[in-house]
Amino acid sequence: MILLPCPWCGPRDADEFGYAGEIRPRPDPSTTTPAEWRGYLYLRRNTAGWTRERWFHRMGCRRYLVLERDTTNNDVRPSTDASSGSGS
């Protein structure tokens, strides 16, 4: 089980978290076009390498976190809280 560095709780087993996927900017829904919106919904960069993604620490601080992870070997870098951009 990989360990994820929660900015609040410290390193925790990944199964305490929910994976919310790579971070994608949400187009402005009032001006978006079908093509752009569906790109947002379905297309993924799916990078083999370092990615920025969101995780939810379900069994811990209950915060959404922003994490950088190398998808080729699951190495991780320190994370931040999704809303404040900082942790403890």
């Binding site: 996927g21 569906r38 919904l41 993924r44 799916n46 080729t72 699951n74």
Partner: protein
């Protein structure tokens, strides 16, 4: 010319001690090919074979960065079935099963297709309802598939705990008699040998590092062994599909997830059916060698790592023992992982793209081995004729931009 295989040939070789000719040859990498297929898995090889066999396009190169079948094709649990949820799905996979049934003689290679029946267990009324839905779609499409009760499950799998007090009681199952397993490596080798005999070039340890596109058309690929000029490139790289598509500038609705599997030490045959439980995230079959082959659902987060995890084996064992408590002393021998190119609707992405000459046969997720033959047949036709065959018309990339996803999502959980 390679010789044909038969019992007689075995006998002849045995008596004379004469050696066998290679199943495929190592050939020089040419500067250009009319068709370059990236990915030497079942999809790439089948496409090459059908291009040559059905359309006379023989001057084809199949490039693989590793060894043949080293991707998902060499590490999948080899479960074949056609009891899908949508009409498109059923028709498509049923054609594939048909090709599998005739494969040994078509390829003159025994792929050991074992028709042993496929059971998808229902542990809740909800899944029972989905089973019924699937059974009815299957039957309406002429595919043998029926919902059976716990007693019948017990008859097919005596080890199964079908008691009503189980934490996840077996309320019934979708039984699909034509389903089964195949020797996955044999399928890869069979296609490779047959394609090689028709003139296809198989280049192992040849990694594509770039795709040349000019004026909206593919003009060539770059590899670690030098450039190749080509007007047609097929991306058949499954788990790596996004990395290759990126080279052509075609973004995909794909996320790569590891899928793990494991085998036990061999024991005497006792399990004659393929058993799948979506609720418990496990599927199991026993091979002719006696080992049990297990799979589960994909890892909970996207990754290109195939190292595998401990929790996978823990979860797997717990779930298997809930189904068959008598297996506690059986030992797990090896675990491994492969990469799955998951799409939002659990259906593949096949056909042409906006980049002329760049074709896709990706999005095979956890279920693409069984589709190898039909996908190869259809992609060969698509490439050779420039027309999208009817059987794959539902699977085009443009469905995402149009918001017309395939309904297979409904029965997603653990399919195989």
């Amino acid at each position: 010319m390679a010789e044909a295989y038969s019992a007689l040939a075995l006998l002849r070789h045995g008596v004379t001690g004469r050696s066998w000719t290679p199943m495929w040859r190592e050939r020089p990498l040419e500067r250009g090919y009319p068709v370059v297929i990236i990915g030497g898995g079942v999809h790439g090889l089948a496409t090459a074979y059908y291009l040559a066999a059905n359309h006379g396009v023989t001057n084809v190169a199949v490039l693989d960065k590793g060894y043949l079948g080293g991707g998902g094709s060499g590490r999948n649990t080899a479960i074949l079935r056609s009891n899908y949820l949508t009409v498109e799905g059923v028709r498509f996979y049923d054609r594939s099963l048909e090709l599998y049934r005739g494969m040994a003689s078509a390829l003159n290679f025994n792929v050991m297709f074992s028709r042993r029946g496929h059971l998808t267990l229902a542990h809740s009324d909800t899944s029972l309802r989905t089973m019924r839905w699937r059974a009815e779609v299957n039957k309406a499409s002429g595919v043998d598939s029926e919902v059976i009760g716990p007693d019948e499950v017990k008859r097919l799998v005596p080890e199964m705990d079908t008691s009503a007090t189980a934490r996840y009681p077996v309320l019934g199952a979708l039984h699909h008699p034509p389903g089964g397993i195949v020797r996955h490596d044999a399928v890869v080798w069979g296609y490779a040998r047959a394609a090689d005999r028709l003139g296809v070039h198989l280049h192992q340890h040849t990694e594509v590092t770039g795709i040349e596109v000019s004026g909206g058309r593919v003009t060539g690929v770059r590899t670690n062994r030098g450039p190749i000029a080509t007007p047609v490139v097929l991306n058949a790289t499954a788990g790596w599909a996004s990395t290759v598509s990126d080279m052509a500038g075609v973004p995909l609705p794909v996320q790569t997830f590891p899928l793990q599997a494991a085998v036990t030490e061999p024991v005497k045959p006792f399990l004659r059916t393929v058993v799948v439980s979506g609720t418990l995230h496990v599927y199991v079959s026993q091979t002719a060698r006696g080992e049990l082959v297990f799979g589960a659902s994909v890892d909970p987060f996207a990754s290109y790592s195939t190292r595998g995890s401990l929790e996978f084996t823990e979860g797997l064992a717990g779930h298997v023992l809930q189904l068959m408590p008598s297996l506690a002393k059986l030992r797990l021998l090896r675990q491994w992982a492969g990469l799955c190119d998951m799409t939002p609707d659990f259906a593949p992405v096949m056909g042409a793209t906006d980049v002329a000459g760049f074709f896709l046969d990706v999005g095979w997720g956890t279920y693409g081995f069984k589709a190898g033959p039909v996908a190869g047949e259809a992609m060969a036709e698509c490439i050779a004729t420039g027309q999208t065959p009817e059987i794959i018309s539902a699977f085009g990339l443009d469905r995402f931009a149009q918001g017309r996803l395939v309904g297979e999502k409904g029965a997603a959980a653990v399919g195989h």
